[in-house]
């Protein structure tokens, strides 16, 4: 049922290309018809060669001309058919991919956070590929296959119903044999897949952990374990591969028997003059041609089912509801940097309340430090401020205006964000710094880089600001990446900042530079800092102490130390030694 629905949806995607589909069907019909005619012309020609002195050259020449014409027609039709099929398939998969990526921009963060990005990428890339393969195969082989079968049947019936009956009665045998073997093989392939999965898991684990394996002198044991699985895989693979390779010879046997049967019957009839030698050759060539599409079609059907399954996975992604759209009349907004949270409730999972009744007043230019052990939910607050997630109760207001009453776009323009996870695009350094303001001049970019203390290392790169960095900045150090992220915000310099202090990945010198860059940026701006360093924490106007998603305490360093609560404990364990 679900498959049918998916199928209908696939058809809907194909509709914009109906012209090519129709052309493809027409060409398919023409090419099949032409292909079926050639054996007939051949047979007829042979019938004009009866023996010495009994050859009708004129008729043969006529037939040869017909073959040439039909061949040319079929060749052209075949090419157009393939070109049309390619166009439809590739365009449909292009549309699907574009749709999926557009969708990603609109998906709620909660969906993206809950789904591993590898899985989503494989839907957009691998699944669409499999889908395209299946679709292409379906287009090319399914329709022409059916036409070939019907056409051959019709012509054979026309020539001699008796012999046709033999063909029709015997072919199901071939399908039956193929089906029987397929079922047997399926079992072995299942086992093979399981054992192979086991082996892959073992390989993954042992190779990933190879250094540990060696450090603990575990090499021999690990090889022993591997060999065991390897041997099991060998045994089951031999069976699976052997049985699966029986299909072709077996169906060929049946086809050969059909061939012999047709030969016998038509020869006997030919003796009594029922058919000519030429017709006999036509029958033989149809008998071998006719069964082939059957085998192909069963393969095509499997392939198409697979394609539908992939399409369903893609639709699953594009069907996820978009994040709640901006409210009607949501306005553009330029903030001065005053912010308040009142009675905010939020949790990712209804069973595990996280932020409960949070109240916070932030004056313009204040610094808020968020502290707490790892995993305490510091990022949740960032998620709410940036409206990656929406509060469930209560409200967040900027300059007295609810953030849900402004467009997300303009809200986010009011925040500059530097996360620990330093994401950079594949592209040049300049493009990366100008990410939030693509029209920025090179002077502005350099200025921002200088302010972020990034200019000196960029200058030393081979191509300076035009150096291309690969996906996620793989060729830069962690510290350099962070400096670029700071420069990126420096260029826009919005009125409010969200900064996530790096913990451990950066050497002391770079760390000091980043501190300086942060300090310069924060001057006069309302800023939220996920803080790890004592100096940052102590300079904050308000410290939020978080644990397990809750805000436990709130205050300045002195007032919190005086409370003798969790903050003091945390402080002492972290900095007391």
């Amino acid at each position: 049922m679900k498959q049918k629905k998916t199928f209908v949806r696939v058809l809907r995607r194909i509709r914009p290309y109906s012209f090519f589909v129709i052309l493809s069907i027409l060409c398919g019909a023409v090419s099949v018809a032409a292909q079926l005619l050639v054996p007939i012309f051949c047979g007829d020609a042979i019938d004009y060669m009866l023996g010495i002195g009994r050859v009708d050259f004129e008729a043969i020449e006529r037939l040869i001309l017909s073959i040439i014409g039909v061949t040319a027609l079929s060749a052209v039709a075949q090419w157009v058919l393939a070109a049309c099929n390619n166009r439809v398939t590739f365009c449909v998969s292009r549309d699907l991919r574009n749709e999926a990526v557009e969708k990603i921009q609109k998906l709620p963060l909660s969906y993206l956070d809950a789904h591993p990005s590898g899985d989503l990428v494989s839907r957009i890339i691998a699944d669409v590929d499999t889908f395209a393969d299946g679709l292409l195969m379906g287009f090319t082989q399914f329709f022409t296959g059916i036409l070939t079968i019907l056409g051959s049947l019709g012509i054979m019936l026309f020539l001699n119903p008796g012999i046709t009956a033999i063909v029709v009665l015997l072919t199901p045998l071939s399908l039956f044999v193929a089906g029987f073997i397929a079922k047997k093989t399926y079992k072995y392939f299942g086992i093979q897949a399981k054992v192979r999965g086991e082996q892959t898991a073992l390989i993954n684990e042992m190779v990933e952990g190879q250094k540990v394996v060696q450090a603990f002198g575990y090499e021999d044991k690990s090889l022993e374990e591997f060999d065991q699985v390897n041997e099991r895989l060998r045994e089951v693979s031999v069976k699976a591969v052997f049985f699966s390779s029986l299909t072709n010879p077996s169906t060929r046997l049946v086809n050969n028997i059909v061939y012999a049967g047709v030969g016998l019957a038509s020869a006997m009839i030919a003796i009594s003059g029922g058919i000519t030698v030429g017709e006999l050759s036509i029958f033989l060539s149809y008998a071998s041609q006719y069964a082939k599409p059957f085998n192909e079609i069963s393969g095509v059907v499997a392939e198409m089912q697979n394609a539908l399954a992939c399409a369903a996975r893609i639709f699953e992604l594009t069907d996820v509801p978009d994040e709640v759209p901006d409210r009607e009349g949501a306005a553009e907004f330029q903030s001065k940097g005053q912010l308040s949270l009142s009675h905010v409730f939020f949790s990712y999972d209804p069973d595990r309340p996280l932020i409960e009744d949070l109240n916070l007043e932030v004056k313009q230019g204040q610094r808020i430090a968020i502290v707490g052990p790892t995993g305490c939910g510091k990022t949740t607050l960032i998620n709410l401020l940036m409206r990656f997630y929406d509060v469930q109760e209560g409200s967040i207001k900027i300059d007295g205006k609810d953030i849900r009453d402004m467009t997300r776009h303009s809200l986010r323009q009011n925040f500059g964000m530097v996360l620990q996870d330093t994401w950079l695009k594949a592209g040049t350094i300049r493009e990366n710094i100008a990410y939030g303001k693509p029209e920025a001049s090179i002077e502005e970019v350099v200025e921002a880089a200088r302010a972020a203390h990034a200019h000196s290392f960029i200058r030393r790169l081979p191509e300076g600001y035009d150096t291309v960095i690969n996906e996620n900045g793989g060729n830069l150090s962690q510290g350099q990446k962070q400096l670029l992220c700071i420069a990126r915000v420096m260029l826009c310099l919005p009125p409010m900042l969200i900064l996530d202090e790096a913990t451990s990945n950066i050497d002391t010198r770079t760390e000091i530079r980043i501190q300086e860059a942060f300090a310069r940026m924060m001057k006069g701006r309302t800023s939220f800092l996920v803080a790890h360093r004592l100096s940052t924490i102590r300079e904050a106007d308000v410290i939020l102490v978080m644990k397990d998603g809750h805000i436990l305490e709130k205050g300045t360093h002195e007032s919190l130390m005086a409370e003798h609560g969790f903050y003091e404990k945390l402080y002492n364990s972290q900095f007391g030694g």
Partner: protein, 581 residues
Amino acid sequence: MKYLKVYLKDYKRDSILAPLFKMLEAMFDLLVPVVVAHIINVGIVNQDRGDILMCCGILVLMAIVGLCCSFTAQYFAARAAIGSATGLRHMLFAHIQKLGFSEMDTIGSSTLITRMTSDINQVQNGLNLFLRLFLRSPFIVFGAMVMAFTINVRLALIFVVTIPVLSVIIFGLMGLTSPLYKKVQGKLDVITGNARENLSGVRVIRAFGREKEESEKFSQANHELVKEQLFVGRISALMNPLTYSVVNIGIIAILWAGSRSVESGVLMSGDIVALVNYMSQILVELVKLANLIVTISRAMASLGRVEQVLDTKTVMEFPESTKRGETISPNKTEEAVSFDHVSLSYAQAGEESLSDISFSVKRGETIGIIGGTGSGKSSLVHLIPRFYDATSGQIFLLGRPIQKWDREELRKKVGIVMQKVQVFSGTIRSNLLMGNEGASEEEMWQALRIAQAEEFVRKKSDGLDETVEQGGRNLSGGQRQRLTIARALVRRPEILILDDSSSALDYATDAALRKDLKSLPSDVTVFLVSQRTSSIRHADHILVLEDGKAAGWGTHEELLESCEIYREIYESQYGKGGRAV
């Protein structure tokens, strides 16, 4: 090929018999048109029903014998291909076990995994197909030509022309399109990267409001891909119509020349039917051959990649055994580890990761090593169990040059907890026993206790036999890390190295761990690597590293006085007014 041959040799019989039987089957295929010609020329012409019946009987018989041959061939091919691939996989796995760290760094584990899995599978498929088809297809193509010659030399010349023309078309188009397909793959890689980027950067993209531009950029790259796909598609779509036309032209030639031969009495109409049949057979087999070549070239590429790994020899050599011969009495030396002007540069890295490091540590001492990322802390401790060899200088372990220790003995003395937490699927027990197969229950619990893991293991319903899933998924990061510490402790090493091993532990647990480490036997030397001064401030000596050079050596107090870098690190973590102890 040299490595595959080793295992293929074990299947010599199978790999000879498989193609032979396949050829036998092909022979029957080739005989069919001859039998049919006989039916037409003799049976029908002479009105001999018995003869026709016999001929059809022969056809059926040939089909059955052909089937048997084919089964036999498939069986031998499967055995040989899978057997050799299994052997190859074993060889590769065993080889990986012997690679040194430096080779592993160069190759990378994800590469090794693909080599072990998909590449070897490709080799297996390629070999299987090769054994089955590499003789069959050419045999049928040329066989058909030879059969044509037996029928009529003049008409057989048509085959002599057609076969090369078909081959040129098929292989020419393949040669033309294969670089184009590579280009398509390249474009596909671009959009894959693009999609991944869109997902990993979703927060930044939205923060800067660049959703639309990103979609447009993807769509642009996607468009490039489709353009390329359509272009290649149009070229490879020529294959079918062209070969089809050529074969039909061949058939026309047969009809045309054949009719003259029939007229002059050289041939009979049955012969013409046979020749036309051969012509059609050739096309089918050539297309098969073309596909075979694609699969095989892919398999060869995979094989090349596998052999590349096998060709990587480890540069590190260990002496055969030091167990016998000179034994070292524990009292002979007080020195646990000493570095004498040691430098290290990694393969393929320009700069030195460690330069001119010298220090000496006595048994039972605790050493703290501190410094920023890339300062060489891990590199330094990785030299102690000889994961890498120093580029210059000499390291002594328990008074003996490190190269003189045999591998097993050395790794037994040195226990290391690596930065990257790695536990293996199995049970908590099996993970602990990995370090020391003979460890008793009591020893395991003791190790867990010191590693601050006792409590959580006790809480598990199956205790030590609690299942550990792959990658330790069912344990928290902190639990995994404590388990790796316990695993090293079970080994009862004389030198214990903790390489930033408390990163996933909270501060209290970290402190408790450091306290309990003091309960180890007094002659155990401990190296603590950390980024935090709080973790190492109580060590007997602290080594400060900066850019691979020793920037300070002494106790916490001494270093605060004398070492500017240490002070800088300390202050960045504590603030200028941080409590002095």
